[in-house]
């Protein structure tokens, strides 16, 4: 399948007064493809994601979904963004109401709304939390509630900004398995390279707003020299055991 679902077409972004800038970012995302977005803090990962949703208008270039350019500033449910901090994304009293928010803004109401909300809650495995107040959830539950709030809009691509941050190991594992079972295309920005390695076949490395490398995940993440040059470390599971001198296998 090489149908290009989302195309980023030489996107540049200059923020008045802000230090972070994107320069000529270009890549294609195929239907269902999962791409890791890796790079040091301040490289522009979060900015790129906001620009891909259209909420931050690009200075030059465009984002195309199914070949059509995304009008900036409008509501584009096809691309869903999971924020780094769950708290930024939860603003309703209960989980069910929060999940309903996006669906309602798509015009759903009544039984159709209920069905969509239920589906999203079941897909994320939090149906039992539906009537719990959002602010009494644990960190892991909050992350899942945010995800449900995006899935309810039936996006064809998910942008995940540090999805495993602030999760404990059990919740991280649960999230990885959940994401692995989903059919949406994904762009996953993360410092958690083991997670990227588990979920993504392709990795884009960016630094200072520019794409430095784009290719097979193991090739890029395992390239110690490339990684070090951009402030990264090779993930432990890709480090060959030097005392025996054998190369790793996954």
């Amino acid at each position: 399948m090489t149908h290009s679902l989302v195309r980023i077409d030489s996107l540049s972004l200059t923020r008045p007064g802000g230090p972070v800038v994107l320069r000529d970012i270009a890549f294609d995302v195929a239907l269902g493809e999962r791409i890791g977005l890796v790079g040091p803090n301040g490289a522009g990962k979060s900015t790129l994601m906001l620009a891909m949703t259209g909420v931050l208008p690009a200075t030059r270039g465009a984002v195309l979904v199914n070949g059509k350019p995304l009008p900036p500033g409008s509501f584009n449910p096809a691309i869903g963004l999971l924020f780094q901090q769950s708290e930024d994304q939860l603003f309703s009293p209960t989980v069910a109401e929060d999940v309903a928010f996006g669906a309602r803004n798509l015009g759903l109401s009544g039984p159709k709304l209920d069905a969509a909300v239920n589906k999203a809650l079941h897909r994320t495995g939090i149906a039992d939390l539906a009537h719990r107040p959002v602010h009494h959830l644990s960190g892991g539950e909050k992350r899942l509630a945010c995800l449900a709030g995006i899935l309810v809009m039936e996006p064809s691509m998910l942008l995940l900004d540090e999805p495993s941050s602030a999760l404990d190991i059990r919740n991280r594992r649960h999230l990885i398995e959940l994401l692995d079972g989903m059919e949406q295309a994904m762009l996953i920005a993360s410092h958690d390279l083991e997670l990227v390695l588990e979920l993504c076949s392709r990795v884009i490395l960016i630094d200072q707003g520019e794409i430095v490398a784009d290719g097979a995940a193991e090739g890029i993440l395992g390239d110690a020299r490339l990684m070090a040059r951009h402030g990264q470390e090779v993930p432990h599971s890709l480090i060959p055991h030097t005392h025996l001198g054998h190369a790793h296998t996954t």
Binding site: V55, P77, Q85, D88, R104, G107
Partner: protein, 242 residues
């Protein structure tokens, strides 16, 4: 007692406002007594818990208490008796009693009628009654931030305490207090913008959105509104006739 019998918060809010204003216009003993009766019925019917009511009453009650204790000694000509140098006067005493009764009744009425309704729902009703969207948007976001800001503020104060911030405010700590508040404002502002972005990304204010809560009045809602308006009218009549 029967929260599920009612669906339309709009009618309840209208009834509450009208009756509260009627309460605050009463003067005569007969009307005040009738007001207490209506309040008691509301409590029995809607069942706010009495201890909870008293707990909530404590803070605002103090303000009223001060006034109520002062008035009988400071207002009026008819001296009923003296306590030390102070003269207890009839007009002041009557005014104090009127104020206290009206205050407690309105307070209780509010707790009975809307105390159980989630605050966001109240704003949905106000929006449906014609309050501009800018105000309800602001209110919903405010609610979103209150808990957050309180938690952050108390954590910041713990951190300051751990680094030796003295308890005394006047001992030069006002600057630290102001700085902590400014830091809180900065971080909360960054968050409020992110939250607003997140809302827009999920279609906040998008054309074609389904109304967040359609209010469909049930017969019980109309009956309640009618009862509240009738009670208000009756009180006004009693107040005039007595």
């Amino acid at each position: 007692m029967h929260p599920e019998a009612f669906a339309d918060t709009r009618l309840r809010l209208v009834g509450l406002f009208v009756l509260a204003f009627c309460f605050s216009s009463l003067h005569t003993p007969a009307a005040l007594a009738a007001m207490l009766g209506i309040t008691a019925i509301a409590v029995l019917y809607f069942g706010p818990k009495i201890p909870e009511l008293f707990r909530r009453l404590r803070l605002p009650g103090l303000v009223v208490l001060g006034l109520v204790l002062m008035l009988p000694f400071a207002s009026g000509q008819t001296v009923l008796g003296t306590i030390g140098p102070l003269g207890l006067r009839a007009e002041g005493l009557a005014a104090a009693a009127t104020i206290a009764l009206r205050f407690v009744s309105i307070f209780t009425l509010m707790a009975a009628l809307i105390g159980n309704i989630p605050v966001p729902r109240l704003f949905e009703a106000l929006r449906a009654l014609g309050l501009p969207a800018m105000l309800t948007d602001m209110a919903v976001l405010t609610l979103r931030h209150i808990e957050d800001i309180r938690t952050n503020l108390s954590r910041m104060r713990t951190a300051m305490q751990l680094r030796g911030a003295a308890a005394g405010f006047w001992n030069g700590q006002f600057r630290a207090t102001g700085w902590a508040l400014a830091s809180l404002i900065l971080r909360s502002h960054a968050r409020s913008e992110r939250v607003y972005h997140a809302m827009i990304l999920r279609g906040h204010g998008a054309p074609g959105a389904a109304p967040s809560a359609a209010f469909v009045p049930k017969p019980a809602d109309w009956a309640l509104l009618f009862a509240l308006l009738a009670a208000g009218t009756a009180l006004l009549v009693i107040d005039r006739l007595a």
